[in-house]
Symmetry: D5
Subunit: 115 residues, 10 copies
């Protein structure tokens, strides 16, 4: 639900600076088995005119709680939604998923503004 | 047994993103001594049109359980089989083998698609 | 296969001393799913007249590799077999099994000689 | 939903042995704020006639996902439900909850059978 | 300011269970130098009829922020205030203070109800 | 209060060398909630003619204790004030803030002298 | 130089509470080789009427800097001097010395008041 | 070669205090395979009239370098030799041996003076 | 004794892949003091036509056990011997030596084939 | 006292190899407060014709023990003295100083030979 995301104006747009946000409490549902998945999400970005409001980000990530979605899909969708919301200069979203069947996964998706 | 590997279509082929898969439960048999070897396998790749299905990867890796194969051979074969199966843009396979005779080994093999 | 276990005479039977053996490479097969299980086995004992020969212990633990057996069953059976083999003054067997479905298990079984 | 819990007969009732189960993926909802809580649950018990079936335990713990419940209440209820289900000789349930407002909590509840 | 502390009724008074609360963000002022001190406070208690409400505890601990108080004094006062507020069966308060002049300190104060 | 910052002459201006200063005891107040925030501040710079005096830096960082300021604002302001005070060849300021609502943040701002 | 030690009155003499002080910056001189020794000193005590003033303790420990003294001698002397100075209910002094010739040492001396 | 061990008089015989010595550089030869074994030896004792001189201990432990000896034998012999040399009130010798064939061992032998 | 080293043909000469071998059990003798030195040796190389046989490497490294040789000399000699034996595309040898007189050393030597 | 430093001829001048030396036992005196400072010094260099003799380096670093000197001054002086003594191809000296007033510092100075 990307409409949950809010931003506020970047007060230091003249400088490239980096914001890294770590959320170890991401959970969604596997569309195949119906069982919950768990991940730590790390978002790193250089803001342009807008900064993501943290409380709205929390609500946005919590909106995945009852949603059936594959690993790759969730990470790429989070990247798309966040980029659309705050139009950053660049952004990386990483999801480290806990092990299933002895196998753990990490997905990394990157966006860079074209100039 | 590369025929165990399955893939599904990549839903985000327009973007280079990275998938890292860690399997700490790899075991094969030393062809010289007949004794089991143990390793953690880490696969990192950028998918093109296909993504490796995780359950099939698990079964594929488990198919080495009773197979006599040297360290270098197993890592290079896993790379060859996975590249053939999902045709990635690039892929790295790392195997960290537990110590034998006070010596532990790590093998790293890399594939990059030619364009 | 308890007949794989060998012992040699304890050279210091007049003193209670403790031997702890750690094997991080234990693997068996889940009798329900047919999938491999992995554990670290830790054996701690006070020898009486016999000490367990380590190479035979390794072969004994490796004999579980293709055997379908539940967690609780394997740890209690290892304890029974080792006690029968070396008749220790006391012995503890611990198995720490890797996560399945987000849940990891540790089983601890203890034997004390009655006097 | 305690009716989700299943048990199977303990094959080694003549021996006191300990089972420890760690589930780092417990989540419920705060009844006050409606926001999700996250915890690692550690269950340690000595079985008597019955052993808890792990898959049913997983489903039981997942049934808290959409339930509004306080920390203390959830840990004591888990202990009550598990004791009722498998009638252990003794059992401890520990919940380590992630920080909220800079404060993290751990709840420990213990049961011992009266003889 | 002990009047900031609030409690709610213990729903499981028939059972001795333990609550441990960790607050790594405690800060007060050294009455000698006027410089800030920093500590991690760990509170462990067995509730009787009342449980400490966590948000009120947070506000209570934050009330030390501008207060000049020695290490020993703060830990003993926190113990006194919490005991007065929730009348626990037993309680321990530990403060681990960050190094000053190359020396770090830990203060541990314990209360047990007399019966 | 940038006027708290003091410097002393760099005795090795002919050489580019790096100074890294770590302060794990930074605290300010959230302008929205009035609740305290906590961070570790890491300052890395190459001095030109002036070196920052450490005691004055400590007092400068402590002057944020009662100030309502957002994460991004504080890190960018610290960078601006330190650059104005010691005119370094380059400088990075990093703030790692403790979790709020399950989310932790790290802000990194960089300055490089133009030549 | 025990005369460097200062104390102040214990404000909570009615309660047994514990103070632990860690000083990782202890150094003395080996009387045999003239080379410096380095240790972490940990002092744990239950105060009676007096509490050790930390700044004076720091100066006291620094007075060993140029003194030729063996490991055992320094730890026992620190215990004797601190006990004489603050008359605690009980006290432990531990010194963990850094390796010399591949061997590291830890000395632990304990005092308990006789009643 | 126990004759390498030297002691010096304990200056604090009126107090029970503990000395712990850690030597991570112990090596001997396996009498079966002729291959080197490696261990960390930890000696803990309460001296009576004599304290072990560390340089002589180092030479004593180094005298095992070319000696064929089993794990259990070496730890029990070190304990016997050290007890004979310094007549302690009590002593523990622990040897943690590095893995061989995926199995690592720890031997613990204890001596207590009879009174 | 470089003649101890054996190799076998590289089965994947068409691909650059990396082998890293870690031996934490290297020991030699200091030519000055006659005392043993201890190090962890890490060898990383890209094989060309030959791969180093691990058992022969173990015996080769063990041949330093009674040899008087300085740190720098041993690491550079190991590199020379291994390069001569397997003619790799590139190779790095690192030795991390344990502390002597409070100082620990790491030596890193690199070889790259000229083309 | 740079005259304490000794070198010996590099036996492998034809190859660029790196030597890293770690000394966790550096101590000097703060010229302002007269109190001791403590640091870990890490020296990394590529030798040209001369290698630093380790025992002389130890004595050189110990000569700072009673010297009043600021952090920046000591690290830059150590670099100057070592460069003058062994004329390396390149060298880095890092000093990690323990916390004072809640603030810890790391100074890094680099030298590269001009060709």
């Amino acid at each position: 639900m990307p409409e949950l995301l809010e931003t506020f104006p970047n007060q230091f747009p003249g400088r490239d600076y980096e914001i890294e946000i770590t959320c170890p409490e991401f959970t969604a549902v596997c569309p195949k088995t119906g069982q919950p998945d768990f991940a730590t999400i790390v978002i790193t970005y250089v803001p342009d005119q807008s900064v993501i409001e943290l409380k709205s980000l929390k609500l946005y990530l919590f909106s995945y709680r009852d949603r059936g979605i594959f690993y790759e899909h969730s990470i790429n969708t989070i990247l798309d939604d966040l980029v659309a919301s705050c139009q950053p200069r660049k952004m990386t979203v990483v999801g480290r998923f806990t092990p299933r069947g002895g196998i753990s996964s990490r997905i990394t998706a990157v966006y860079a503004a074209t100039t």
